[in-house]
Assembly symmetry: C2
Homo-oligomer: 353 residues x 2
């Protein structure tokens, strides 16, 4: 019986999960609970691509050679320096009879689990990629385990847009859950006060989706915090937040003042979506006693969050933003379909890339 | 008006909170909302003391000189390498008329906020300390802000025991809250299934307190996971867990198998109290869908937790263990008073130190 989390594909070191492994077995022959994808494109994680481009001084040939070397050595695309991977799109080539993923041969899918744990073989030496973009045209094979997640690409949205949405779909789903729980709790105890939400980095992909998810989950007032005027204007024009505020999220006093003025008090739920270090203290300070901070930024320091809240004697619940919430892909795609402001923000970002 | 979180004491860099500051103003003259403590002893954080001792090859004189240098340069005891501090005990020397802490002159207290944010001046050049222990006899001044936390040392417990308990009192308090919420939720929806709890590192200080806190909050079955036989025997003898299991927490499969066998299934709440890196995946895998993982270990990697749960498609709530929960000191001291098994574990640890 093959492991639903892919333990049988771990070559070294023994006993760890695929993500923590140095090397995976990317044999294209699948077990009965696996699925093989014919890969069409890799989307490298932004931090990983930036590291590779900087290391090689922007020389695309060298970047391409290193990605090939990583995948052939490790059996997966996991940057050894950043530890990050990315995602891929492709078509289902073979689905094991015991796979629970519900995929059929011919489905065009995006993987929602990281490349860091996905067995991968490249067949075309990435001949169509110039090494200068995170988007990597690629012919090859990838393997999905029983507990991997993949979303069938919707027919009604451009693939680029759908991918950008799926890449961050955990954030609106968890935000909606946390805000919904706060609203339900107040209703249960007869507390009629409105639930307020601050999204730090509100003009970004995960940020704008989280703002509309919060509103739909019952938040009475939301603020999107952004660092520069261009983002302030774009977010205001999109109309997805009750208020837009300008502040440097690394400055705890500036951030908490901006949130407090915008909402008339600290936020019941603060969502951190900016990928810069040093936002933990400001997020805690911007949140009401008994409130919740959700950290989606991979730049979050566990120790800074834990010690910061203790040092401020702040009774706040702090969540590690889990990228998986059941139904997250459908929720995020639905928001982009029905919220023209969010879709406009995504499209202008894609056009700028 | 002086800042309740001590911003007026930050010398450099400007605008950060005291914990993130390089240097604090440790002037002994207090503002109306501050309290001055006459220090009697510093308890250096274990990681900080270990780093200093290793750097100086165990030369106590050099360790002492470096601690003096750090405190005179930074105005606080924060190890520049580990970033950590510790706590202190002393006696209230002056309490500002607007201090909300409820402390009176003459109260013997322990600070429950870290030394990393506490303005400190040493007066005796640490003449009574040999530099060979985390316990530092010290004459000096420390300043508490309006939002600092200090606990009056109880008269009925030895000071060493009380300090050891107060040092980890956030863990049982947050565990009790999370378990209590799970129990209440099941009652609300008429779900009669028992709530189960796994504590990884169950024989330690925060672990043993969390085990009894979980039971008192309504957990029907608890397992304490420990890495070695001596701890297994000690925890079993203390009688604070329903079951004791032996497993290496860094081995995800071993940890989840141990928890699952002990509880008859994955845990509803998993509490991580072991200070070793690499326990994130095992903790996620040991937790039931819809369950909660609380990370108290400062060795926790934010990215490993976030990406690990996503990679496992695990719908678990992951909490950053906030060391502050209202009433945490009283709760933990009460558990040690009323649970002889926990008290015995603490006393044998103190005797071994």
């Amino acid at each position: 019986m093959t492991s639903p989390v892919g333990l049988h594909r771990v070559v070294e070191p023994a006993g760890v999960l695929p993500q923590a492994a140095w090397r995976l077995d990317a044999d294209p022959r699948i077990a009965p609970n696996e699925v093989r994808i014919r890969v069409e494109r890799l989307n490298l994680d932004a931090a990983s691509f930036r590291q590779l481009a900087q290391k090689h001084g922007g020389d695309g040939e060298k970047v391409r050679a290193e990605v090939l070397e990583i995948v052939s050595t490790r059996g997966k695309m996991q940057n050894p320096v950043t530890g990050s991977g990315g995602m891929l799109i492709g078509t289902v080539e073979e689905a094991g009879r015991r796979s629970p993923l519900g995929l059929a041969v011919g489905d065009r899918v995006a993987t929602l689990v990281s490349l860091t744990l996905t067995p991968l073989t490249i067949l075309d030496r990435l001949a169509r990629w110039d090494g200068r973009s995170e988007q990597v045209p690629c012919d090859g094979y990838a393997i999905l385990f029983a507990r991997s997640i993949a979303a069938v690409l919707p027919a009604d949205l451009p693939a680029e847009l759908a991918l950008a949405v799926l890449d961050v779909c955990g954030a609106p789903a968890l935000t909606a859950r946390v805000v919904g729980e706060q609203v339900a709790r107040r209703e249960r105890v007869g507390d009629g006060s409105p639930v307020t939400v601050a999204v730090v980095g509100g003009a970004g992909k995960s940020g704008s989706l989280s703002l509309v998810a919060a509103r739909r989950a019952g938040a009475a007032r939301t603020v999107g915090v952004v660092p520069v005027e261009a983002e302030r204007d774009a977010l205001a024009a999109a109309g997805v937040a009750s208020v837009v505020a300008l502040a440097d999220a690394r400055d705890p006093v500036a951030l908490s003042s901006a949130v407090t003025s915008a909402l008339g008090g600290p936020a019941d739920v603060t969502v951190v979506c900016v990928d810069v270090p040093g936002c933990e203290h400001g997020a805690v300070l911007a949140t009401a006693e008994g409130g919740t901070v959700i950290f989606f930024s991979m730049a979050t320091s566990f120790a800074a969050a834990a010690l910061g809240a203790e040092g401020l004697a702040a009774d706040v619940t702090m969540l590690v933003g889990n990228g998986f919430v059941p139904g997250h892909a459908e929720l995020a795609l639905g928001l982009v379909r029905s919220e023209p402001g969010v879709r406009a923000l995504f499209e202008s970002r894609l056009a700028a890339d």
